[in-house]
């Protein structure tokens, strides 16, 4: 049978990828403390328990704050770097860009440990801001990679045309460049938000006493009784991810349609 093994491979691959995620809502709505088949009835009590967990609320709040702040900061830095690398020529450009992109391949644990050592050495107290610092560091290369391609595809004469028609460099940036690279900016915000939100190692090392969501989830797994709540939390997170991705894709497609570009693939 031609292609038969490919089919088996593809189905097996998808099962391995998504079956565990399907298990999440199954056990989240299961009326039992033990994570095991057979299921023993429908219940939403784990969701109520989740909402009543004060530490979880703090963890979610912390994580959202960190993720939003990191993604905005990393994207802002990314815009500057991407703009510089695509428009200007300066000495040692290749080397500098390489150094900026290095955290992409640097082991996170190394980044986390060295940051911790430096921060403690400087006498800075660990807080959410130290986590943000670490997250901006690891997110920025991703932002630069995404934004560089957005800036690269921008025709330079568009800028010159706006400038030629009397706009200043700043208003040209606002009126022409920003709207045209907006899809890139949104992807960059999204990717860095996602990276920051589920980042564990740096958050674990640098957060001090403040819990973030991944750290909280990790810590709760020590208590078997808390596992169904984590399942409920996981279910909510999966739904939110899908929603977020859909929104991002909608904006990306609209952006492409608006500027008349060719759709060269995206997330969905």
């Amino acid at each position: 049978m031609k292609g038969g093994w490919f089919k088996v491979y593809a189905i097996g691959y998808l099962l391995f990828l998504y079956a565990p995620i399907i298990l999440l809502p199954m056990f989240a709505f299961n009326d039992a403390t033990v994570i095991a088949f057979p299921l023993s009835g429908f219940s939403t009590r784990w969701f109520s328990a989740m909402l009543e967990e004060p530490t979880l609320r703090i963890a979610v709040k912390n994580s959202l704050f960190i993720a939003v702040t990191s993604s905005v900061l990393a994207t802002t830095l990314g815009i500057f770097a991407a703009r510089a690398s695509t428009r200007y020529r300066f000495p040692m450009k290749t080397g500098l860009m390489g150094l900026i992109m290095l955290p992409l391949v640097l082991p996170e644990i190394i980044v986390a440990v060295s940051l911790l050592v430096v921060l403690l050495g400087l006498g800075i107290n660990l807080s959410l801001w130290t986590v943000i610092l670490g997250h901006v560091l690891i997110c920025t290369p991703f932002c630069i990679a995404i934004l560089s391609s957005a800036f690269q595809s921008l025709d330079q004469s568009l800028e010159e045309a706006a400038y030629d028609l009397g706009e200043s460099a700043a208003s040209t940036f606002r009126l022409i460049i920003l709207p045209l690279v907006m899809p890139g900016i949104i992807s960059s915000l999204l990717i860095s938000f996602t990276i920051s939100l589920d980042e564990f190692i740096i958050a674990f090392f640098l957060a001090g006493t403040e819990p973030t969501l991944p750290v909280y989830i990790f810590s709760q797994f020590r208590f078997p009784a808390a596992v169904p709540v984590i399942m409920a939390l996981g279910t909510v997170l999966v739904c939110l991810s899908i929603l977020l991705l859909t929104i991002a894709e909608y904006f990306r497609r609209r952006g492409i349609a608006k500027s008349g570009g060719k759709d060269t693939g995206g997330f969905l």
């Binding site: 025709d155 030629d164 008349g260």
Partner: protein, 358 residues
Amino acid sequence: MIAFQDVHKYYGEYHALRGITATIRAGEFFSLLGPSGCGKTTLLRTIAGFEGISSGAVMIDGRNMAGVPANQRPTNMVFQSYAIFPHLSVGENVGFGLRKARLPKAELAAKVAEALDMVGLDGYGDRAAHALSGGQRQRVALARALILKPKVLLLDEPLSALDKKMREQMQVELIRLQRQVGITFILVTHDQEEALVMSDRIAVMFEGEIAQLADPETLYRRPNSRKVANFIGTMNFLPAKILSETGGKIEIEAQGFGQLTLEAEQAPGAASGDGAAVGFRPETLTILFEGQTATDRESMATIEEVVYYGDMTYYDVRLDGTEKPIRISMRNVFGRPVLEIGERTRVTWSSGALVMFR
């Protein structure tokens, strides 16, 4: 209007503009013509203010443009890629330059409509800019630049992205538009035909220098160097030598033509070091058919190659007493035979059509 005073431009070691001195008159259609890399676009961009210059001066209306940024110069540009803002509508594109003026809505709309009308796009204001064809983009770019009523409109190879038919149509429209608005147009092109068709005057550029600046007819009839002659149309060359030069007359001896007297204006160029030669366009020589008599002078020749084009036939003929063939173009006339290779023929010519290259 625009004056270049010994303009030099270096990109690092590379000497892109090598002492450009020229004046462009108000209201003329001026072309910068040359092969790619000759510096014509760089020169245009020094007028717009997108390129600085290394030394010399660019003057617009008597004012030195040094230190005046592009957004404050009385020039507007039509870009090679048109640079239509893809996220704005046609109307918003055209009205973009008037944003700063903060006009009342109705007045802005009227001006945009007028500009669109001028380029033949009335009623297109609400369309999305990215949905336009190449020719329409070109018109939007024109309207967008002209709405500001600049003193100078700069056109950077504006027709190169269009197909042949569209290009020829836009050439005519650009000439009409230029006459209508009376603004100085400066066109950059590598297409000699386009330059000849459209321009009042043309500066032919090679390697960062202006080789010749003249009106199209002078450029075609009296090119001042072999390089210019070869770049614009086809030019035949035959070796020649100058016998004497006195009082506006030049006595020469040319291969295939014999001894001739030329006017001084027929030798406009300086010595090139390549040896002297006479040049002439393919259409300035005429093959004499049975029963026709010479209009001026006559030479005997042998047909070596025949290229039939329908309306024209190109003959490569060798004049008696010369080594290499020359090209003659003849309009085909009904009832007249096309000559064949190897035939002997008479050729008539006039010494006034010759150009002497020293």
